[in-house]
Amino acid sequence: MRRRHFLFGSLATGLSACRRDRRPRLNVYNWSAYVAPDTIPNFEKEFGVRVRYVTYESNEEMLAQVITGNSGWDIVFPTHNRVPPMSSMGLLAPLDRSRLKNLPNLDPQFQSPSWDRALEWCMPYMWFGTGIAFNRSVAPAPSAWADLWSPRFKGRLTMLDDPEDVIGASLKKLGLPFGSTDPDEIRRAEHELFQQKPLVRAYLNAEVRDQLVSGDVLVAQLWSTTAAQALDVSPSLDFVFPAEGFPLYCDCAVILRESRRRELAHEFLDYLLRPAVSAAIAQSTLTATANAGGHALLPDKLRNSAALYPALDVLRRGEWPGTLPPAAQRLRDRIWTEVKAS
């Protein structure tokens, strides 16, 4: 799907380049598999513009370009905790709410989020949490981070290849805050990870999806959207948000200060905020939209998915991690290297 999209996209760009297109061009840099196949073409048709649409796989990949202030992008999609640093570095253009007529469509919990109270800089787009995906054949089913330390899963368990999530899960297991910056607490979490390592089959991100479906892996720490995609393919899988608490993340659209097409960029954000557009995206990519209007339009099965849209009492256990200060970040990175090299 992604590759086909990319092919058609590049073909379209190539053809339009041949015709010496004079239409204004919007440059959008987004996570892979984050729009429906017709999202971009429909926008181009309706507004008579061209869109250069390219995808990335990590915040760092995007930031490395954007941080130069001359990246050529108009709109990018950082995760929520990258928004405050980006705005404090002067990389972002303030949102003009008068141009975003569809902003009230956002879910109430994203109308005034902790990382950008007045939605001055960002438009919440898609959100997800980290939890545990597991095969239903496992009994009793895991329900807490502590279950990921159970010897019965030896060799059939994977953790994410992401220091923030793995160290965070270990901290949560100990009853400590997910985003702890206290060196002693982080060291205790490391000790737990050393204990766990003999049980761990591998540290994998999205690529674990196939192995969950095939049954190679029985239990995996996983992001809810990736899990929902696996659940959609295999009825033998399930997903749970752990009892001790879990992190929530929201990828947000921002307009860069360097953008010379801010008006058009606002049009694009407002287009994404339309209920029909956001529902089409959420349905085709199996992600959780921050758009309540779009959510209401989804088919029942998707709309009631417990992995994508957890109930309120589950959500209450979740937290939105902030940005770590450099010292804590460095300690965590060192610990991550120690755990992996052990």
Partner: protein, 276 residues
Amino acid sequence: MNRLRFCFLLPARIWFVVLFFAPLAIICAYSLLTRGVYGGVELPWTWESYQRMIDPLYGVILLRSVVLSAAATGICIVLAFPLALFISRATRRKNLYLQLVMLPFWTSFLVRTYAWMFLLRDTGLVNTALIGMGFLRQPLPLLYNDAAVLLGLVYAFLPFMVLPLYATLERMDPALLEAAADLGARPRAAFFRVIVPLARPGIWAGIALVFIPCLGAYLTPDLLGGGKSVMIGNLVQNQFTNARDWPFGAAASLTLMLLTLAALGIFYRRGPKDLL
């Protein structure tokens, strides 16, 4: 005359400065700067990144990289020698065999590594076949260990050993083997006392071409090792992504480069001069 010489050398010099020295200078500068909070680099200048490299943790990672690379190089020699000998002795289809050795390069390395993952996993081809034939009850843990990383490295770099070996063996005069036989050498003695010494330039070139890229490998340990075994390439990659510590990543990659240069220095001294 001198001016003419200067003009003709100029393109090569520009090429060298722009494509080699400039990037290297940037890496050097980065390694001496301070880490930016959200990636990138900031002033002031500091040695800190290099001081952090002096740490048993990174020594262990380095040692592991060297051991794995050396093992992969050794296995490559053992596997490549008979193959290169066979191709160089082939009378017909020599070109076909050479094409076959290079065939894997026609597809992306990433795709080929994923193919190995499909072969090696619990429900993969190898385990399914072995269980189907009744040799096994439980699938063997073939993926996500050092053996899988080693296999991946050998697979990736085997052609780089075969080709230089072939090049030297091809030039060898078959009459020398006949002479060895006439003088009473059995095939085994002829192989070790005639073929191997004559192939030494190829062996050294192959070692350089396999060992050095192995040292910097990061995709293979990541995908086939499941992130459980860190090589120095992974350390560098992590600094530029998750850890957002570009100076330390630059310092680590320069350290790797210095070690590689040191290894090359040994090749220069020990190996034949006409090769490198």
